[in-house]
Symmetry: C2
Subunit: 201 residues, 2 copies
Amino acid sequence: MEALDSLVTVTPHRRGATIYGPDDPAEHWYRLLSGVARKCALLPDGRRHIVDFLLPGDFFGFIARHEHRFAVEAIVEDTVVARYPRRRAEVLADSDPEVGRRIREVAFETMSRAQARTLILGRTTAAEKVGSFLLEMAERWAGATVDAFVLPMSRYDIADYLALAAETVSRALTDLKQRGAIALVRAHRVRIVDRDALTLD
Amino acid sequence: MEALDSLVTVTPHRRGATIYGPDDPAEHWYRLLSGVARKCALLPDGRRHIVDFLLPGDFFGFIARHEHRFAVEAIVEDTVVARYPRRRAEVLADSDPEVGRRIREVAFETMSRAQARTLILGRTTAAEKVGSFLLEMAERWAGATVDAFVLPMSRYDIADYLALAAETVSRALTDLKQRGAIALVRAHRVRIVDRDALTLD
DNA sequence: CGTAGTCTTGAGTATCCTCAACGAGGGTGG
DNA sequence: CCACCCTCGTTGAGGATACTCAAGACTACG
C-alpha cells in the first residue's frame, strides 16, 4: 500500500470537531488512525441517528455519489484521520491491481460492519441491544477479544446508535451490572464478566 | 461488462428455495435478475432477522471471508439469480481495471443500501418504520419513484426486517390506510397517496 | 371448491419513553 | 489548590407504545 500512502494527508481533530459534513463534496476517502469518531445523520425533525462508530483502522467516507449524506465527528481529543483524494485514488486503483484489490477488501469489511450493526439494531429489547453493542465494541476494540475496554462515547451517543432513550441505556447498563454480566468503573470503563448473559435474554 | 458475463451461471429458484445457506463456502458472487429474495440470519434463540430484501439488479453475497453468515431465500416463484465464481472474478478484476472499478461501484451501492436500512431501523415508532420501509421499497422498485407497487413479502418478513411483531406491522398498515396515507389492494398491492404522511409521523 | 397459510383485529400486559430531579466528574478560573 | 460550574449520568414516577396470546376472516394455492 505504499502507492496509496503517497497520496495521504494526516490531520488531527479535537473532540467534537467535524471531520466532514453532510453536504461536503465527497472528494476524499478517510481512515481513522487513532481516536474515535461517530458517523451521524440529522433527521428533518431534529433527532440524530448515529449510523456507525469509527475505531482506529476503520475506513470511511466511501461513496459512489458525489455528496456525503452523513457527518463524521471526532469523539475524543486527538482523533487522527488519514485522508486520500478520491479521484487520484481511483486512478491509482485502475492502474495498480494491488491497490484496487485492497480497496475492494476495505469495501467488503465496511459492508460487514454495516451488517453486524443491522443485527444489533434488529434486537427487540433494550437489554439485548446494549448487550450486543458491548460485545461488538469488545470485539472491534483492537481486533482482539478483550474483556476490558473503554467506552469513549456518551450515553446519548449510544442511545442514538441503538435507537433508545439515553435513560434506557443507562438503566440497561446498571441492570447488566447488577446481574453480574459486566463491571463498570466510572461509567466509561467496562469489563465483561459473563459473555453469555449479554446475548441470551 | 462482457468480460464478467462470460463467467456467469443463471439459475431459477422456486418460491422459498434457498439460494445459499449460512454455512456455504463463499465461492460465488450473485446478482438478482428477476424476482425477490430475502437475506436472513437465524439467531441462536430461534428468532429470525431479515437483513435485506433483494430486488432485480441487486448484487449480493459479497464477502471478504470464506463463509457466508446469512442465508438468502427466494420469496417469489421464478426468482432468477446470476452467479459469478468469486476466484475467477477476482482474477479478472485484477487484470481488467474496468471490471475492478465496476465491482467497487457495486460494493459502494451495497453499502448505501445498508446505511439506508440502518436509518429505517433507527426510527423509533412502528408507524415511522413501516412508513420508511414503504418509501424505500417504492424508491428501489425499478429505480423509478413509483407510487403503486407490489409488496411481495409477507407481513412476517416485514416484521423480521423492521424488528417488529407481525401484528404491529399489520396494525401500522391499516392505520396508514385509514389516515389516507396509502391505499391497499388485497394486502400486497400498495399505492402511496400522501408521501409526507409516511415520514412525519 | 376446500384447505392451509396469511392477514387482521381484539384484549391484557410488559417494556420503553417522557418529564423531572438529583448526583457525580471533569474542566476552568480564581 | 480549591471552588465553582456545566455537562453527563443515574434514578424515579407516570403514561404511551408495542408485544403476547388468541380468535376470526380472508387469500391463494392445490
